[in-house]
Protein backbone atom coordinates (compact mmCIF):
# COMPACT_ATOMS: atom_id res chain seq x y z
CA UNK A 1 0.00 0.00 0.00
CA UNK A 2 1.27 3.44 -0.86
CA UNK A 3 1.73 5.68 2.19
CA UNK A 4 -0.45 8.71 2.62
CA UNK A 5 1.49 11.80 1.65
CA UNK A 6 1.04 14.85 3.81
CA UNK A 7 1.84 18.39 2.77
CA UNK A 8 4.83 18.40 5.12
CA UNK A 9 6.35 15.39 3.39
CA UNK A 10 6.41 16.88 -0.08
CA UNK A 11 7.22 20.46 0.92
CA UNK A 12 10.73 21.39 -0.27
CA UNK A 13 13.25 21.87 2.53
CA UNK A 14 13.94 25.57 2.92
CA UNK A 15 17.64 24.98 3.58
CA UNK A 16 20.56 23.63 1.57
CA UNK A 17 22.41 22.06 4.50
CA UNK A 18 21.09 20.46 7.67
CA UNK A 19 24.10 21.86 9.55
CA UNK A 20 25.91 24.98 8.48
CA UNK A 21 28.58 26.67 10.58
CA UNK A 22 30.54 29.75 9.57
CA UNK A 23 33.36 31.10 11.70
CA UNK A 24 31.92 29.16 14.63
CA UNK A 25 33.64 29.60 17.99
CA UNK A 26 32.53 27.86 21.17
CA UNK A 27 34.10 28.69 24.49
CA UNK A 28 34.72 26.16 27.26
CA UNK A 29 35.52 27.62 30.65
CA UNK A 30 36.69 31.23 30.79
CA UNK A 31 39.08 31.60 27.92
CA UNK A 32 39.56 28.34 26.07
CA UNK A 33 38.04 28.21 22.60
CA UNK A 34 37.36 24.49 22.12
CA UNK A 35 35.87 25.22 18.69
CA UNK A 36 37.91 27.99 17.13
CA UNK A 37 36.67 29.37 13.84
CA UNK A 38 34.97 26.41 12.19
CA UNK A 39 33.43 26.50 8.72
CA UNK A 40 31.42 23.39 8.05
CA UNK A 41 28.42 22.36 5.94
CA UNK A 42 26.81 18.97 6.42
CA UNK A 43 23.82 17.50 4.59
CA UNK A 44 22.02 14.17 4.70
CA UNK A 45 24.33 11.20 5.27
CA UNK A 46 26.62 9.78 7.93
CA UNK A 47 29.43 12.14 8.85
CA UNK A 48 32.29 10.75 10.90
CA UNK A 49 33.75 13.40 13.17
CA UNK A 50 37.27 12.23 13.70
CA UNK A 51 40.03 13.72 15.79
CA UNK A 52 42.37 13.14 18.69
CA UNK A 53 41.03 13.31 22.25
CA UNK A 54 40.69 16.89 23.40
CA UNK A 55 40.29 18.19 19.85
CA UNK A 56 36.96 19.76 20.76
CA UNK A 57 34.69 17.10 19.22
CA UNK A 58 32.39 16.91 22.23
CA UNK A 59 32.18 20.68 22.48
CA UNK A 60 31.23 20.91 18.81
CA UNK A 61 28.57 18.22 19.23
CA UNK A 62 27.17 20.01 22.28
CA UNK A 63 26.97 23.23 20.30
CA UNK A 64 25.14 21.34 17.51
CA UNK A 65 22.79 19.94 20.18
CA UNK A 66 22.16 23.59 21.23
CA UNK A 67 23.19 22.95 24.85
CA UNK A 68 26.23 25.20 24.42
CA UNK A 69 25.84 28.62 22.87
CA UNK A 70 28.30 29.76 20.23
CA UNK A 71 30.57 32.54 21.42
CA UNK A 72 31.05 33.86 17.90
CA UNK A 73 30.15 33.07 14.33
CA UNK A 74 27.03 31.59 12.83
CA UNK A 75 25.39 28.24 13.36
CA UNK A 76 22.36 27.29 11.31
CA UNK A 77 20.55 24.02 11.98
CA UNK A 78 17.74 22.96 9.62
CA UNK A 79 17.74 26.52 8.31
CA UNK A 80 17.21 28.04 11.75
CA UNK A 81 19.79 30.09 13.62
CA UNK A 82 20.94 28.20 16.71
CA UNK A 83 22.62 31.17 18.36
CA UNK A 84 21.01 33.70 20.65
CA UNK A 85 19.07 33.33 23.83
CA UNK A 86 16.02 31.35 22.69
CA UNK A 87 15.07 27.90 23.93
CA UNK A 88 14.92 26.42 20.37
CA UNK A 89 12.03 24.12 21.24
CA UNK A 90 10.82 23.49 17.69
CA UNK A 91 14.37 22.91 16.49
CA UNK A 92 15.19 20.56 19.36
CA UNK A 93 12.19 18.36 18.56
CA UNK A 94 14.03 17.47 15.33
CA UNK A 95 17.40 16.74 16.93
CA UNK A 96 18.54 13.48 18.52
CA UNK A 97 21.53 13.57 20.85
CA UNK A 98 23.59 10.95 22.64
CA UNK A 99 26.10 12.61 24.98
CA UNK A 100 29.49 11.03 25.56
CA UNK A 101 28.63 10.40 29.20
CA UNK A 102 25.20 8.90 28.83
CA UNK A 103 23.51 9.20 32.23
CA UNK A 104 20.26 7.42 33.05
CA UNK A 105 18.02 6.43 35.96
CA UNK A 106 18.94 2.94 37.15
CA UNK A 107 15.49 2.03 38.46
CA UNK A 108 13.73 2.74 35.17
CA UNK A 109 13.12 -0.06 32.71
CA UNK A 110 14.42 0.41 29.17
CA UNK A 111 10.90 1.20 27.98
CA UNK A 112 10.21 3.63 30.82
CA UNK A 113 13.44 5.50 30.18
CA UNK A 114 12.91 5.81 26.43
CA UNK A 115 9.27 6.81 27.07
CA UNK A 116 10.47 9.45 29.52
CA UNK A 117 12.90 10.79 26.92
CA UNK A 118 10.14 10.79 24.28
CA UNK A 119 8.04 12.86 26.67
CA UNK A 120 10.95 15.28 27.24
CA UNK A 121 11.28 15.54 23.46
CA UNK A 122 7.60 16.43 23.12
CA UNK A 123 6.69 13.46 20.96
CA UNK A 124 2.85 13.58 20.72
CA UNK A 125 1.39 11.50 23.56
CA UNK A 126 -0.53 9.15 21.27
CA UNK A 127 2.62 8.35 19.26
CA UNK A 128 4.89 7.58 22.23
CA UNK A 129 4.22 3.81 22.71
CA UNK A 130 4.76 3.02 19.02
CA UNK A 131 7.77 5.34 18.70
CA UNK A 132 9.39 3.77 21.78
CA UNK A 133 8.74 0.22 20.57
CA UNK A 134 10.19 1.08 17.15
CA UNK A 135 13.31 2.71 18.61
CA UNK A 136 13.92 -0.18 21.02
CA UNK A 137 13.51 -2.70 18.18
CA UNK A 138 15.91 -0.81 15.95
CA UNK A 139 18.70 -1.12 18.50
CA UNK A 140 17.87 -4.79 19.06
CA UNK A 141 16.64 -4.48 22.64
CA UNK A 142 13.00 -5.54 22.17
CA UNK A 143 13.49 -8.62 24.34
CA UNK A 144 14.97 -6.50 27.16
CA UNK A 145 12.51 -3.62 26.95
CA UNK A 146 10.97 -4.33 30.34
CA UNK A 147 14.21 -4.99 32.21
CA UNK A 148 15.55 -2.42 34.64
CA UNK A 149 18.41 -0.29 33.32
CA UNK A 150 20.69 -1.37 36.17
CA UNK A 151 20.57 -5.00 34.95
CA UNK A 152 21.99 -4.13 31.51
CA UNK A 153 25.57 -4.52 30.32
CA UNK A 154 27.58 -1.50 29.20
CA UNK A 155 26.93 -2.24 25.54
CA UNK A 156 23.19 -2.53 26.11
CA UNK A 157 23.12 0.76 28.02
CA UNK A 158 24.84 2.38 25.04
CA UNK A 159 22.13 0.95 22.78
CA UNK A 160 19.43 2.42 25.02
CA UNK A 161 21.28 5.70 24.54
CA UNK A 162 20.98 5.32 20.79
CA UNK A 163 17.29 4.34 21.12
CA UNK A 164 16.47 7.50 23.08
CA UNK A 165 18.36 9.57 20.49
CA UNK A 166 16.27 8.24 17.58
CA UNK A 167 12.90 8.01 19.37
CA UNK A 168 11.75 11.39 18.04
CA UNK A 169 12.72 10.44 14.47
CA UNK A 170 15.22 13.31 14.25
CA UNK A 171 16.43 15.13 11.13
CA UNK A 172 19.79 15.75 12.82
CA UNK A 173 21.25 12.90 14.87
CA UNK A 174 24.30 13.64 17.03
CA UNK A 175 26.15 10.69 18.53
CA UNK A 176 29.17 11.35 20.72
CA UNK A 177 31.39 8.24 20.86
CA UNK A 178 28.45 5.84 20.42
CA UNK A 179 30.59 2.75 19.85
CA UNK A 180 32.38 2.93 23.21
CA UNK A 181 31.52 -0.24 25.11
CA UNK A 182 30.03 -2.11 22.13
CA UNK A 183 31.47 -5.53 21.31
CA UNK A 184 32.50 -6.30 17.70
CA UNK A 185 29.15 -7.91 16.78
CA UNK A 186 27.17 -5.00 18.22
CA UNK A 187 29.49 -2.62 16.40
CA UNK A 188 28.67 -4.29 13.07
CA UNK A 189 24.94 -4.06 13.77
CA UNK A 190 25.36 -0.46 14.81
CA UNK A 191 27.12 0.42 11.55
CA UNK A 192 24.21 -1.08 9.62
CA UNK A 193 21.80 1.03 11.64
CA UNK A 194 23.90 4.13 10.92
CA UNK A 195 23.80 3.49 7.18
CA UNK A 196 20.05 3.02 7.35
CA UNK A 197 19.57 6.24 9.36
CA UNK A 198 21.90 8.16 7.06
CA UNK A 199 19.54 7.72 4.10
CA UNK A 200 17.24 10.51 5.25
CA UNK A 201 18.99 11.99 8.30
CA UNK A 202 22.05 14.11 8.87
CA UNK A 203 23.99 11.88 11.26
CA UNK A 204 27.12 13.19 12.99
CA UNK A 205 29.12 10.50 14.77
CA UNK A 206 32.13 11.49 16.78
CA UNK A 207 34.71 8.78 17.26
CA UNK A 208 38.38 8.29 17.74
CA UNK A 209 38.24 4.92 15.96
CA UNK A 210 39.22 5.22 12.33
CA UNK A 211 37.67 1.84 11.42
CA UNK A 212 34.19 3.03 12.50
CA UNK A 213 34.48 5.77 9.92
CA UNK A 214 35.64 3.47 7.15
CA UNK A 215 32.74 1.11 7.63
CA UNK A 216 29.76 3.37 8.10
CA UNK A 217 30.45 6.95 7.05
CA UNK A 218 29.75 8.64 3.75
CA UNK A 219 31.88 11.58 4.76
CA UNK A 220 34.79 12.24 7.12
CA UNK A 221 35.30 15.46 9.05
CA UNK A 222 38.75 15.63 10.60
CA UNK A 223 38.90 18.03 13.48
CA UNK A 224 41.92 19.07 15.54
CA UNK A 225 42.54 21.92 17.96
CA UNK A 226 39.11 23.35 17.33
CA UNK A 227 39.50 23.64 13.57
CA UNK A 228 38.58 21.71 10.45
CA UNK A 229 41.63 19.89 9.09
CA UNK A 230 39.97 17.85 6.36
CA UNK A 231 36.56 17.05 4.94
CA UNK A 232 35.98 14.40 2.30
CA UNK A 233 35.11 10.79 1.62
CA UNK A 234 36.85 7.93 3.46
CA UNK A 235 38.64 7.21 0.16
CA UNK A 236 40.02 10.76 0.08
CA UNK A 237 41.25 10.29 3.64
CA UNK A 238 42.96 7.02 2.74
CA UNK A 239 44.53 8.71 -0.29
CA UNK A 240 46.14 11.38 1.88
CA UNK A 241 48.53 8.93 3.53
CA UNK A 242 51.81 7.47 2.34
CA UNK A 243 53.28 4.11 3.34
CA UNK A 244 55.81 5.88 5.59
CA UNK A 245 53.09 7.28 7.87
CA UNK A 246 52.14 5.48 11.08
CA UNK A 247 49.10 3.23 10.97
CA UNK A 248 47.84 -0.26 10.20
CA UNK A 249 45.44 0.69 7.41
CA UNK A 250 45.39 3.25 4.59
CA UNK A 251 42.79 5.26 6.57
CA UNK A 252 44.96 5.38 9.67
CA UNK A 253 47.92 6.45 7.59
CA UNK A 254 45.83 9.17 5.96
CA UNK A 255 44.66 10.30 9.38
CA UNK A 256 48.23 10.45 10.67
CA UNK A 257 49.41 12.29 7.56
CA UNK A 258 46.73 14.97 7.86
CA UNK A 259 47.16 15.49 11.59
CA UNK A 260 50.95 15.54 11.56
CA UNK A 261 51.43 16.91 8.07
CA UNK A 262 52.93 20.26 7.03
CA UNK A 263 51.76 23.10 9.24
CA UNK A 264 50.61 20.75 11.96
CA UNK A 265 54.08 19.53 12.92
CA UNK A 266 53.53 20.13 16.62
CA UNK A 267 51.81 16.82 16.88
CA UNK A 268 48.19 16.76 17.91
CA UNK A 269 48.58 13.65 20.04
Amino acid sequence: MMPAVSAADIAPTPYAWEIRATGLKVRVGRNHMAVDGLDLSLGTGVHGLLGPNGAGKSTLIRALATVLRPAEGNLELLGESAGGRGEHRALRRRIGYLPQEFGYYKRFTVREFVEYMAWLKEVPKADIPAAVQHAVERVGLADRADKRMKTLSGGMVRRVGIAQAIVNDPSILLLDEPTAGLDPAQRLRFRELLQELGKDTCVVVSTHLVEDVAAACTDVVLFAEGRLVFQGTPEDLAGAGDPEHVGDSPLERGYAALLLGPGRGRGAW
Partner: protein, 272 residues
Protein backbone atom coordinates in the same frame (compact mmCIF):
# COMPACT_ATOMS: atom_id res chain seq x y z
CA UNK B 1 -10.14 16.81 8.02
CA UNK B 2 -12.33 16.40 4.95
CA UNK B 3 -15.72 14.75 5.46
CA UNK B 4 -15.87 13.59 1.86
CA UNK B 5 -15.60 9.80 1.70
CA UNK B 6 -14.76 7.48 -1.13
CA UNK B 7 -17.72 6.29 -3.19
CA UNK B 8 -18.98 2.72 -2.88
CA UNK B 9 -18.20 2.24 -6.59
CA UNK B 10 -14.50 2.96 -6.07
CA UNK B 11 -14.31 0.91 -2.85
CA UNK B 12 -16.03 -2.10 -4.43
CA UNK B 13 -13.79 -1.83 -7.48
CA UNK B 14 -10.72 -1.60 -5.27
CA UNK B 15 -11.84 -4.67 -3.28
CA UNK B 16 -12.34 -6.69 -6.50
CA UNK B 17 -8.99 -5.47 -7.83
CA UNK B 18 -10.63 -3.93 -10.93
CA UNK B 19 -8.22 -2.78 -13.58
CA UNK B 20 -10.49 0.05 -14.76
CA UNK B 21 -9.66 2.19 -11.72
CA UNK B 22 -7.26 4.96 -12.73
CA UNK B 23 -3.88 5.02 -10.97
CA UNK B 24 -4.54 8.43 -9.44
CA UNK B 25 -7.91 7.20 -8.14
CA UNK B 26 -6.20 4.24 -6.46
CA UNK B 27 -3.57 6.51 -4.96
CA UNK B 28 -6.13 8.97 -3.63
CA UNK B 29 -8.21 6.12 -2.22
CA UNK B 30 -5.28 4.51 -0.43
CA UNK B 31 -4.19 7.84 1.00
CA UNK B 32 -7.73 8.38 2.26
CA UNK B 33 -8.02 4.85 3.66
CA UNK B 34 -4.96 5.37 5.80
CA UNK B 35 -6.68 8.23 7.55
CA UNK B 36 -10.36 7.24 7.50
CA UNK B 37 -11.73 4.54 9.72
CA UNK B 38 -15.22 4.77 8.17
CA UNK B 39 -13.96 3.92 4.71
CA UNK B 40 -11.69 1.16 6.03
CA UNK B 41 -14.74 -0.44 7.63
CA UNK B 42 -16.65 -0.09 4.35
CA UNK B 43 -13.74 -1.64 2.49
CA UNK B 44 -13.61 -4.64 4.80
CA UNK B 45 -17.36 -5.15 4.35
CA UNK B 46 -16.89 -4.80 0.62
CA UNK B 47 -14.08 -7.37 0.56
CA UNK B 48 -16.33 -9.91 2.26
CA UNK B 49 -19.11 -9.29 -0.29
CA UNK B 50 -17.17 -8.67 -3.51
CA UNK B 51 -14.03 -10.76 -3.16
CA UNK B 52 -14.68 -13.97 -1.23
CA UNK B 53 -11.33 -15.36 -2.42
CA UNK B 54 -9.44 -12.53 -0.71
CA UNK B 55 -11.56 -12.89 2.42
CA UNK B 56 -10.81 -16.61 2.52
CA UNK B 57 -7.07 -15.96 2.09
CA UNK B 58 -7.05 -13.40 4.93
CA UNK B 59 -8.98 -15.89 7.06
CA UNK B 60 -6.35 -18.57 6.44
CA UNK B 61 -3.51 -16.18 7.32
CA UNK B 62 -5.28 -15.21 10.54
CA UNK B 63 -5.84 -18.80 11.61
CA UNK B 64 -2.16 -19.56 10.90
CA UNK B 65 -0.98 -16.55 12.89
CA UNK B 66 -3.30 -16.96 15.86
CA UNK B 67 -1.27 -19.61 17.75
CA UNK B 68 1.85 -17.40 17.46
CA UNK B 69 0.02 -14.27 18.57
CA UNK B 70 -1.16 -16.01 21.72
CA UNK B 71 2.47 -16.72 22.56
CA UNK B 72 3.64 -13.11 22.16
CA UNK B 73 3.40 -11.09 25.32
CA UNK B 74 1.47 -7.88 24.78
CA UNK B 75 3.24 -4.59 25.46
CA UNK B 76 2.63 -3.95 29.16
CA UNK B 77 0.55 -0.84 29.52
CA UNK B 78 0.48 -0.74 33.30
CA UNK B 79 3.00 1.95 34.11
CA UNK B 80 4.56 2.04 37.53
CA UNK B 81 3.77 5.11 39.60
CA UNK B 82 7.46 6.07 39.71
CA UNK B 83 7.57 6.30 35.90
CA UNK B 84 4.44 8.44 35.83
CA UNK B 85 5.82 10.66 38.56
CA UNK B 86 8.94 11.33 36.49
CA UNK B 87 7.07 14.03 34.60
CA UNK B 88 7.00 16.00 37.84
CA UNK B 89 10.16 14.97 39.63
CA UNK B 90 13.26 12.96 38.78
CA UNK B 91 14.11 9.85 40.82
CA UNK B 92 17.09 11.87 42.08
CA UNK B 93 14.77 14.30 43.85
CA UNK B 94 12.93 11.64 45.84
CA UNK B 95 15.52 11.11 48.62
CA UNK B 96 15.98 14.88 48.93
CA UNK B 97 12.26 15.40 49.35
CA UNK B 98 12.20 12.61 51.92
CA UNK B 99 14.92 14.49 53.78
CA UNK B 100 12.86 17.71 53.63
CA UNK B 101 9.89 15.92 55.19
CA UNK B 102 12.20 14.33 57.77
CA UNK B 103 13.67 17.71 58.80
CA UNK B 104 10.19 19.20 59.08
CA UNK B 105 9.01 16.36 61.32
CA UNK B 106 12.16 16.59 63.44
CA UNK B 107 11.70 20.34 63.89
CA UNK B 108 8.08 19.73 64.80
CA UNK B 109 9.00 17.11 67.40
CA UNK B 110 11.61 19.42 68.95
CA UNK B 111 9.08 22.24 69.01
CA UNK B 112 6.55 20.02 70.78
CA UNK B 113 9.17 18.74 73.24
CA UNK B 114 10.19 22.39 73.78
CA UNK B 115 13.85 21.57 74.27
CA UNK B 116 15.95 24.62 74.92
CA UNK B 117 15.01 26.64 71.83
CA UNK B 118 13.00 29.00 74.01
CA UNK B 119 10.08 30.71 72.31
CA UNK B 120 11.55 30.10 68.84
CA UNK B 121 9.60 27.79 66.56
CA UNK B 122 12.04 25.54 64.73
CA UNK B 123 9.43 24.79 62.07
CA UNK B 124 9.25 28.51 61.34
CA UNK B 125 13.01 28.92 61.51
CA UNK B 126 13.66 26.15 58.97
CA UNK B 127 10.70 26.94 56.70
CA UNK B 128 12.54 29.19 54.19
CA UNK B 129 15.29 26.69 53.45
CA UNK B 130 13.20 23.51 53.25
CA UNK B 131 12.08 23.95 49.60
CA UNK B 132 15.62 24.97 48.69
CA UNK B 133 16.84 21.48 49.59
CA UNK B 134 14.36 19.92 47.16
CA UNK B 135 14.99 22.47 44.41
CA UNK B 136 18.76 21.83 44.74
CA UNK B 137 18.34 18.31 43.41
CA UNK B 138 15.79 19.26 40.76
CA UNK B 139 18.17 20.84 38.26
CA UNK B 140 21.62 19.66 39.12
CA UNK B 141 24.51 18.83 36.84
CA UNK B 142 26.28 17.02 39.66
CA UNK B 143 23.37 15.09 41.19
CA UNK B 144 21.21 14.20 38.18
CA UNK B 145 22.80 11.59 35.87
CA UNK B 146 20.44 12.49 33.02
CA UNK B 147 21.13 16.22 33.37
CA UNK B 148 22.79 16.69 29.97
CA UNK B 149 20.10 14.69 28.15
CA UNK B 150 17.39 16.65 29.94
CA UNK B 151 19.03 20.00 29.19
CA UNK B 152 19.17 19.12 25.48
CA UNK B 153 15.46 18.24 25.23
CA UNK B 154 12.84 20.60 23.85
CA UNK B 155 10.97 20.49 27.15
CA UNK B 156 14.05 21.71 29.04
CA UNK B 157 14.08 25.24 30.29
CA UNK B 158 11.96 27.38 32.53
CA UNK B 159 8.84 25.25 32.00
CA UNK B 160 10.45 22.05 33.27
CA UNK B 161 12.26 23.84 36.12
CA UNK B 162 8.98 25.36 37.30
CA UNK B 163 7.22 22.02 36.99
CA UNK B 164 9.80 20.39 39.23
CA UNK B 165 9.75 23.35 41.62
CA UNK B 166 5.97 23.03 41.86
CA UNK B 167 6.32 19.38 42.84
CA UNK B 168 8.84 20.34 45.55
CA UNK B 169 6.39 22.90 46.92
CA UNK B 170 3.61 20.33 46.74
CA UNK B 171 5.59 18.28 49.26
CA UNK B 172 6.98 21.11 51.40
CA UNK B 173 3.88 23.25 51.80
CA UNK B 174 1.61 20.49 53.21
CA UNK B 175 4.41 19.43 55.58
CA UNK B 176 4.76 23.00 56.82
CA UNK B 177 0.98 23.46 57.01
CA UNK B 178 0.82 20.46 59.30
CA UNK B 179 3.77 21.66 61.37
CA UNK B 180 2.36 25.17 61.60
CA UNK B 181 -1.09 23.93 62.55
CA UNK B 182 0.30 21.80 65.40
CA UNK B 183 2.64 24.48 66.77
CA UNK B 184 0.37 27.46 66.14
CA UNK B 185 2.52 29.22 63.51
CA UNK B 186 0.33 30.87 60.87
CA UNK B 187 0.89 30.17 57.19
CA UNK B 188 1.30 33.91 56.56
CA UNK B 189 4.52 33.85 58.58
CA UNK B 190 6.30 31.13 56.63
CA UNK B 191 4.73 31.04 53.17
CA UNK B 192 6.33 34.22 51.78
CA UNK B 193 9.86 33.47 53.11
CA UNK B 194 9.49 29.94 51.76
CA UNK B 195 8.53 31.14 48.25
CA UNK B 196 11.10 33.96 48.33
CA UNK B 197 13.93 31.52 49.04
CA UNK B 198 12.68 29.22 46.28
CA UNK B 199 12.63 31.98 43.68
CA UNK B 200 16.03 33.28 44.81
CA UNK B 201 17.53 29.78 44.46
CA UNK B 202 16.28 29.56 40.88
CA UNK B 203 17.37 33.11 40.03
CA UNK B 204 20.86 32.62 41.46
CA UNK B 205 20.92 29.10 40.00
CA UNK B 206 20.58 30.49 36.48
CA UNK B 207 23.99 32.11 37.01
CA UNK B 208 26.01 29.74 39.20
CA UNK B 209 24.05 26.47 38.97
CA UNK B 210 21.01 25.58 41.05
CA UNK B 211 22.79 23.22 43.44
CA UNK B 212 25.52 25.73 44.23
CA UNK B 213 22.97 28.51 44.69
CA UNK B 214 21.02 26.29 47.08
CA UNK B 215 24.13 25.49 49.12
CA UNK B 216 25.01 29.19 49.43
CA UNK B 217 21.51 30.16 50.51
CA UNK B 218 21.18 27.38 53.07
CA UNK B 219 24.62 28.15 54.51
CA UNK B 220 23.87 31.88 54.56
CA UNK B 221 20.56 31.35 56.35
CA UNK B 222 22.18 29.04 58.89
CA UNK B 223 24.97 31.49 59.73
CA UNK B 224 23.11 34.80 59.59
CA UNK B 225 19.74 33.81 61.03
CA UNK B 226 19.54 30.32 62.56
CA UNK B 227 22.65 30.42 64.74
CA UNK B 228 22.05 33.90 66.30
CA UNK B 229 18.35 33.11 66.81
CA UNK B 230 19.04 29.88 68.63
CA UNK B 231 21.72 31.64 70.71
CA UNK B 232 19.39 34.50 71.66
CA UNK B 233 16.30 32.30 72.07
CA UNK B 234 13.98 34.87 70.45
CA UNK B 235 12.08 34.83 67.14
CA UNK B 236 14.30 36.55 64.62
CA UNK B 237 13.48 39.96 63.14
CA UNK B 238 13.64 38.30 59.71
CA UNK B 239 10.58 36.17 60.39
CA UNK B 240 8.56 38.79 62.28
CA UNK B 241 5.25 39.77 60.68
CA UNK B 242 6.44 43.26 59.74
CA UNK B 243 9.24 41.70 57.65
CA UNK B 244 6.74 40.31 55.17
CA UNK B 245 6.87 43.21 52.66
CA UNK B 246 10.62 42.62 52.36
CA UNK B 247 10.06 38.92 51.66
CA UNK B 248 7.44 39.88 49.07
CA UNK B 249 9.97 42.16 47.40
CA UNK B 250 12.60 39.39 47.34
CA UNK B 251 10.05 36.99 45.83
CA UNK B 252 9.13 39.48 43.10
CA UNK B 253 12.80 40.17 42.34
CA UNK B 254 13.56 36.47 42.16
CA UNK B 255 10.67 35.81 39.77
CA UNK B 256 11.74 38.76 37.64
CA UNK B 257 15.31 37.51 37.32
CA UNK B 258 14.16 33.93 36.57
CA UNK B 259 11.92 35.13 33.74
CA UNK B 260 14.54 37.52 32.36
CA UNK B 261 17.18 34.78 32.32
CA UNK B 262 14.91 31.94 31.26
CA UNK B 263 17.31 30.82 28.50
CA UNK B 264 19.85 29.78 31.16
CA UNK B 265 17.86 26.66 32.07
CA UNK B 266 18.10 25.08 28.61
CA UNK B 267 21.89 25.09 28.25
CA UNK B 268 24.59 23.26 30.17
CA UNK B 269 25.48 25.12 33.34
CA UNK B 270 29.04 26.34 33.40
CA UNK B 271 29.43 24.91 36.90
CA UNK B 272 28.88 21.45 38.30
Amino acid sequence: MSVEHASIRIIDGYARGDTDLAADEVWALEAHLEMCRVCRDRLSASVAAQAPAVAALVGTVWSDLEPQLVGTAPVPRRRRWSARLSKWMTPVMVPWLAMVVGVTLLALLLDLADTGSGEVSLVLLFSPVLPVLGVAASWSRGLDPAYELTASAPRAGLYLVLRRTASVLAVVVPALLLGGWVTGVTAAQWLLPCLAFTSTTLALGGVVGVTRAAAWLVAGWAVVIVAPTLAAGRTTFALATDGLPVWGLILALGIGVVIARRGAYSVLGAHR
